[in-house]
Structures are given as C-alpha cells and as structure tokens.
Symmetry: C2
Subunit: 340 residues, 2 copies
C-alpha cells in the first residue's frame, strides 16, 4: 500500500496558473509570431513590450508544460513552436483553435472567479453583471465583434463539422437546414463534400449577411441559401436534415425543448435532427470538457447548460421522435441524432 | 507519423475551469464536510446553499478530474472524498494542504487575470492595485488574518520541513536559527526530532507572540526561543545552522543578496545556510510548480521571484560561502545548502 500523495491535488489547484499563461500567450499572438521563426528572450521582450524576469518565468512555465519549445538554456536560448502549437495556435493556419482561447483570455477566465456565486445564485457572471445587456445582444451590436466570435466558434467546431460531413449518411437525404448557422460553416462543409445536397443556413439578419458573403466566396451560392430569421419566433425552414451545432447548450430547459419541438415540426417523416455538442457522457464521469462547457454556459447565461445523450433522447422522445443514435466526433464532441 | 492532436492544448486552455472548481470546493469546505460522511446532491445543495443544475455540473466536473468520488449515478448518488482528498483536503487532518488553496480561491485566481499586465509592468496585481498597501503590511494589521496565512503556509511547508528535519545531518550541529520562522513550525519539528538541538525562531514581534504560544503548547519552551526582530534592519541571531523556509522568494534580487550576506555573517566557520524553496530546476524545463510560484511572487510583489539552485549558489559564492549542496525534499521542493 502506497501512502496518499498530494501531487495531483496540487497540480490541479495550481493549474489555473499554467492555463492562464497559455491564454495570455495565445491572446498576445505569441504562437503566430513564432510561426515566422524562433526568437530569443530579448526579441520576445522587445516585440511584445514585456520585462525580463516575468517573461523568463512566463515562457519557461509554458516550456515545462510542453506548450512551447526552447533550444538551448540561458542566454541565447531560442523559443519556438512545438509541432502542436504550430498546427493549432498560429492564427494563419486553417486549423487554428485559438479563437475560443482568445475569448477565454479576454473574458471567461476572469468571470470564473465568481463560479461559487454562480452556483449559489444561478445568475450569469459575465459583462451583464455590470452593463446589464445579455451576451448575444452585446455581440450583435458590433459587427467586428460578431465576426470575431464566429471565427472563435468556428475554430472549435470545424473539425467536428468536417467529421460529421464525412460520417453522416448524407446519401439518404437531399436537403439540410442548419439552425443558428452563423457564417454557414457547416453548410459549406456539407455542400462541398456532398454535391447532391442543398443547404439552408438559418440565422439572424445581421449574421446571414456575413454568411452570404462567405457562401459566394466559396462558389456554393447555387446550393446554399442563407435565410434570415429568428429560431424562436419564426418557423424553421423545412428540410430532410435539421442540424444545430452548439445551439441547444446556450439555452435553458424550456427553450431547449421548444427548439427540439420546432425541429420535429420542420422535418418530414424519416427526417433527422442532429445536435452537435460536447455531449456529457451519460454517467457524467468522464467528459471533463463537456462539464466545463456546461459551467461556462452558467457563467454566460445563468440557466443554460450542456447535457448528456440520454437527456437529449428524452427531450426528443417527448417531442415525438422515435429513433436515436449518438455518433462520436472529435475529442469530447458528438453528434446526437433523433429520427422522426 | 501521427497527425498533431489539439487535445493537450485544449485540456490546459480549459484547465482554469477545473482548477477553479477545486479552489471553490476547498473554499466552501466541501471536503471537510464530506469527511463526516458521503452526501447526496440534495444534501450538498442544502448545506452549502447551492442550486441544482450548477451544483451537479460543479461536482461531476470534480468527479471527472478524480478530485471527488461518487457512488452511483443519477438520483440518490452519493458524493464522497477520494482517499487523497480525505487525507489532504479535510481541515481537521494534520496533513491538510488546503490553506494555500483557500488563499488562491479568495485571492490569487482573480489576480492572475492580469498576468499579461504584470509581465508588461512588473507591478504587483493584488490588493495593492486598489488599496495601495503592501501585502505583508495588510497581513500584519489583522491577527486573525495573519494566523490564517501562517496556517496556509504551514500546510504547504510541513511535509518539506519534516523531511528536512529527517535528512539534514543535524548530528554535526548544536544550534539553529530559523529566519522568518512564523509560528516556529520548522523549529518545533527539528527540536522534536533532535533532542540535542536548540532553536531560535526569528520573526516580527506580532508573529513571535503566536510562536511562543505554540512552542509552549508543544512542551518545547526549554529548547526553542522565539526572538522578535526585523530580518532586514536587525542582525540575525547567530547559530550553527541558519534556515529560511520560503523567505528568499518573497524578495527582489538586492534583498535576496542582502539576506544571504546576513546569513553568512551570522554563521561560524563550517556553519550551514539552508533555503527551503520550490527551487526551479537549473535548465528551467521541468519544475512547473516552481515557475508558477515565481509568477505568483510577481503577482504579489512585482519584483520578487523564485530561483534555481545555480542562482542560489552564485549569490552564496558572492557572499563568501564555499561549499554547496541541493537536497530534494517533497514534490517540487528542495533544500539548497551553502556551507561557510
């Protein structure tokens, strides 16, 4: 029998520091800059306006966490991207996942300071605490901010949408409507992979303007239409497949059930409703990221939450759906599917 | 060749959430309460005044990170301590390490939101930003706060001090002075383990009052004296061994060197100066915790920092010391020793 060891506790307890340093490095654009070539400590200090001792500790902390490479020790050592940071944290790479991390750097890390209060009150702990405006309202008021948000969401969704386009049996269907389609990323990926599919990307007018631009740029204007509407107050455009990518988790239980019901109403018999989310495992024991996202929804919206496949199936069954399936996508994400 | 995988990046980037949840759980006293017996979700909600959905996510996030046990799934499931959380996160256990975690819950997590600013300005990012009072000054103004702080520090030091008392060759020496001795924890452990050693625990008057009480309670008043003084303005009480536990890292380079010089002056030829710290590895590649603590010193004091064994040896050599040794203690901590 070995004596209990506090190292796991201390590693997680102090883990906010390593996490915070990574958010800062992404927020500063360090990895994007390092994609141009390795840099000495002096060069990094000069380029980013940082002081020596803090910067040494900041960079070497990332080295120790395998989130930065360093050739040599001491004076003259050169910092460089790792294979992984080069692939995913350079803003100029297609696989950039740093958008969501930039948001966490600017916003969410700070809001999580009040997680205990959120668990006590069920109230959002973001900008709405002081300014009083709901998150999406603030977002839609500023086009540049909105596009940055969509880029951030796309960075965390693109790998899942690509896999979904590849593994879902699209040969059985002819039309798809993506609800809350943002800049039509999911529609563009599905239409590009399946020439027989016609897509509708449904979102608010301020968003469909951006979507139309991106659809045209991709040469897909003949097979994807960006349709403006409000998914709560308008009926959903009918299609053989209705998708919602990271939409359901933004809302409370009543609104989730309303969206499920509206998807049911917009589908023909045999149609499929697909929710792409970081589904929490049914036993709620393994998907740390899904549980983290759920608390992030608490922080952002107060009554919103992520959910398990079982919960999704129960809501869909209640709405009238009769067949169910969960397809694992990338990492902690899945496609939960209900057939009408 | 395998394709690069973003999961390590995403795990660290979202790691602030898991870390924050652990700080909250320790701050709430959840683990101490669970030491009395396992609890259902309803019981935890009622005892801590928390709401259902946030609390489910909060607790199951800790389950997924192996920082909480749960027997059963769904309704009626009972949450309980793991072997490790029972040993180290129950306030009533001697090995409690939660004191420092409580400080991080109340203070440091929030301050780290401004780590980028700290790296730019070299300025502390704690209460001093608004109130203007240095950390230790605020601390000493309130006895209850001071004792809580000492308890917190003791929780992270006790295992190191115990190992130091065991592995250091005390048979060669007769007297020890512990500089910044707080409530005399190190002196009490050394005196208890080595009946031939006489100790002096040196700290500010407000602190030695508390130390004297604890020394008397331990029945060690004949062999430990708590001496009041300021380690910058007063000479250090002479002894064969001078120790400083987590003292040097609180200060800037000039003050560190001054303390090293004062230790040299207070030792006889052959005497030993011992700094117990989370020494950063010389290559600055592996001791993540030491680098984290160093940035924590930046956050607290602006110009303070943790250091490597090589740095310690260089400062000691400059002060006149001639022999050096580093003894690993527990986890990321070491005793750096300089012989006069």
């Amino acid at each position: 029998m070995t004596a209990p060891d506090p190292s796991h506790i201390m590693q997680v307890a102090s883990g906010y520091g390593v996490s915070r340093a990574l958010l800062s490095a992404v927020g500063l654009g360090l990895y994007t800059r390092l994609a141009e070539g390795s840099m000495t400590l002096d060069e990094i200090m000069r380029d980013f306006g940082l002081l020596r001792r803090p910067t040494m500790d900041f960079l070497d902390l990332l080295v120790s966490a395998e989130l930065l490479g360093r050739e040599g020790d001491g004076e003259g050592a050169r910092y460089h991207n790792t294979e992984t940071t080069a692939a995913f944290l350079d803003r100029n790479k297609p696989a950039y996942i740093g958008g969501i991390i930039e948001l966490w750097d600017k916003r969410n890390y700070r809001f999580w300071a009040d997680i205990t209060e959120a668990c006590r009150t069920g109230k959002a702990q973001n900008e709405t605490k002081s300014a009083g405006k709901p998150f999406f309202e603030t977002l839609y008021a500023e086009p540049a901010r909105l596009e940055a948000f969509m880029d951030a969401m796309n960075g965390s969704s693109i790998n899942n949408f690509e896999k979904f386009a590849r593994v879902f049996p699209f040969e059985r269907y002819r039309t798809l409507t993506d609800i809350g389609g943002a800049d039509a990323l999911l529609s563009r990926l599905v239409a590009a992979a399946h020439p027989h599919i016609r897509c509708t990307s449904f979102d608010l007018p301020v968003v469909t303007e951006i979507a139309t631009r991106k659809i045209t740029a991709a040469g897909l204007a003949k097979r994807i239409e960006a349709v403006a509407g409000d998914f709560f107050s308008d009926p959903l455009p009918s299609a053989d497949v209705i998708t919602m990518g990271m939409i359901l988790h933004d809302w409370n239980l009543g609104r989730k059930k309303l969206l499920v019901k509206k998807a049911y109403d917009a589908l023909p018999p045999g149609g499929a409703f697909v929710a792409i989310e970081a589904l929490i495992d049914d036993a709620r024991r393994t998907n740390t990221f899904g549980l983290f996202l759920s608390l992030n929804m608490l922080i952002e919206f107060g009554d919103a939450f992520d959910f398990t496949g079982s919960e999704f199936i129960a809501w869909c069954r209640e709405a009238g759906f009769s067949g169910f399936e969960v397809i694992p996508l990338v990492g902690p994400s899945s496609a939960a599917i209900a057939y009408k």
